[in-house]
Amino acid sequence: MSVSPSARRLVQRVLVGIVIPVVVVVLWQILCQRGVFPSDLLPAPSAICQAFLAMGSNGTLWADVDATCVRLVLGFVFGALAGLVLGALVGFFETLEWLIDPMIQSVRSVPSLAWVPLFILWMGIGEGSKITLIAVGVFFPVYLATMNGIRYVDRKLLEVGQVFRFPRWKLIWRITIPSSLPAIFTGLRAGLGLGWMFVVAAELMGASQGLGYLLETGQNTYAPELIVGSIVLFAILGKVSDGILRVLERRLLHWHDSFGNRETGWPQTRGSLDTQAPGH
């Protein structure tokens, strides 16, 4: 009874969201036990769990998860920072746009994996080349979103500040930046998604730790439970990291008109709004 409507809605959503995964896993388990899938190609969920529980209890799993997450976070931070700074500069200054943007756009059209040999040549197969590769992946969506968010700020809102005779820095700080935050967040989330892609690429390229390394080990030692388990772990970690960004976004952008509609494309009624009444 004491649960707030929005919390109840969240629980509802989560419950509905796990229906299909649960059904799939149960079916999968049953089919594996009946021998429909050959266990050397697709192990049963229980077998995967066992293998990962064993790795979890002797600690190697955490080292792998940890290595992957550290790479991702570092790559994300560097890539996102570069994207934010350059995107903002290019968004603000037209001359810089002419100067830098054509170059960045042409670099963008290079398939990012093509950088791998170069980075390995420059930095070896250590952490440096991996983090750089991830950062490159994160950079472009963040750069594009920041640049567009800042460049296409509503002129009508800027005029409100001009009428109050705001100096330029104040126009930027109080109008341009807040109004481009939604676009920037969209870019950050896209960048994070690409970051996960590149973390796998970087780890497949030669690593002694990490989930990508686990994938490769699984392939080389004919251990499908390692491969499938790693894939599931990637899915979980990706979802969790995106969830963190989404919570941040919800905090910062709750004012946004289309917020909450963006994911589904359908208008929703939001519990927190329905219950709000003017105070007196």
């Binding site: 009508k156 005029e159 409100v160 001009q162 005779r165 109080r174 008109d257 003017p278 105070g279 007196h280």
Partner: protein
């Protein structure tokens, strides 16, 4: 107080928004700028506000020619509320204030009370109705206590009832502060109700067709019966102008001898006080 002389605005693409506009606004006047869509009313207001530069001509405040800067004492209420969607109502109202957080809040609350929005301080723009949002915009302009408040069709997007409420609110505020209000509108009734002088614009590019001064004993009344004669004459100007500019000149010439296309002084009262 505010004087506009031979003002012409040409856009970059060569389109002339208005030309040779001249009129004068006294302190505490509510001057309606009335004209059909596209005759350059909004642009004229933007030039006065300093948001755009004129091609030629002069805008002067208190006898001083305005440069390319936005004037200190000028506030603007736009056609749309233009609220910052990321700020709650109270922060939107105090958007232009430079003061401590506490003073800002106090001033915002005081003004919100005046526009009838007490209790809505923490609401976000998307949670407001159109009329409420426009009231917030009015509050935001008032909080800086401008001497001249430029209004660009501030009520045109609202329903008739809300519009009447806000018109009365504007008059209340004006009675309190006696600020000068140049008001763009395309609603003759609104101009007749709110204004003491009406600048009628016509044509594309827009020109001043007539400056009508309302009789002092018929200001701010919704009883349009008593203003029927004035309304009719404005209506005639707008209608005739639409048909042919030349014929209007010849038709009105005998009536108001001194009137030309650019009226720099309010026309005494040939057209307006005919019924008196």
């Amino acid at each position: 107080m505010l004087e506009i002389r031979e003002l012409t605005k040409v856009f970059k693409n060569g389109k002339v928004a208005f030309e040779d506009i001249s009129f004068r606004v006294g302190p505490g006047d509510i001057v309606g700028i009335l004209g059909p869509s596209g005759c350059g009313k909004s642009t004229l207001l933007r030039v006065i506000a300093g948001l755009e530069q004129a091609e030629s001509g002069v805008v002067s405040f208190y006898g001083q020619q305005a440069g390319s800067q936005i004037q200190d004492a000028v506030g603007v209420i736009f056609q749309e509320p233009r609220l910052m969607p990321w700020l709650p109502v109270s922060d939107n109202v105090s958007f232009g204030l430079q003061a401590s957080r506490k003073t800002r809040h106090q001033e915002a609350s005081a003004i919100l009370e005046k526009v009838g929005l007490r209790g809505y301080e923490l609401f976000y723009p998307r949670q407001l109705s159109g009329g409420m949002a426009q009231r917030v915009a009015i509050a935001r302009a008032l909080v800086a206590s401008p001497d001249i408040l430029l209004l660009d069709e501030p009520f045109s997007a609202l329903d008739a009832f809300t519009r009447m409420q806000l018109q009365d609110l504007l008059l209340e505020i004006w009675a309190e502060n006696r600020c000068t209000l140049p008001l763009v509108t395309h609603d003759i009734d609104e101009a007749l109700y709110l204004c003491n002088t009406i600048v009628v614009m016509q044509g594309q590019p827009g020109r001043v067709a007539e400056v009508v001064t309302l009789p002092a004993d018929r200001l701010h009344t919704r009883d349009l019966e008593s203003l029927a004669d004035v309304k009719k004459s404005i209506f005639n100007i707008l209608k005739l102008q639409g048909a042919s500019l030349a014929s209007r000149q010849s038709r009105t010439a005998p009536q108001s001898t001194g009137s030309s296309l650019t009226v720099s002084e309010p026309i005494p009262s040939n057209t307006t006080s005919g019924g008196m």
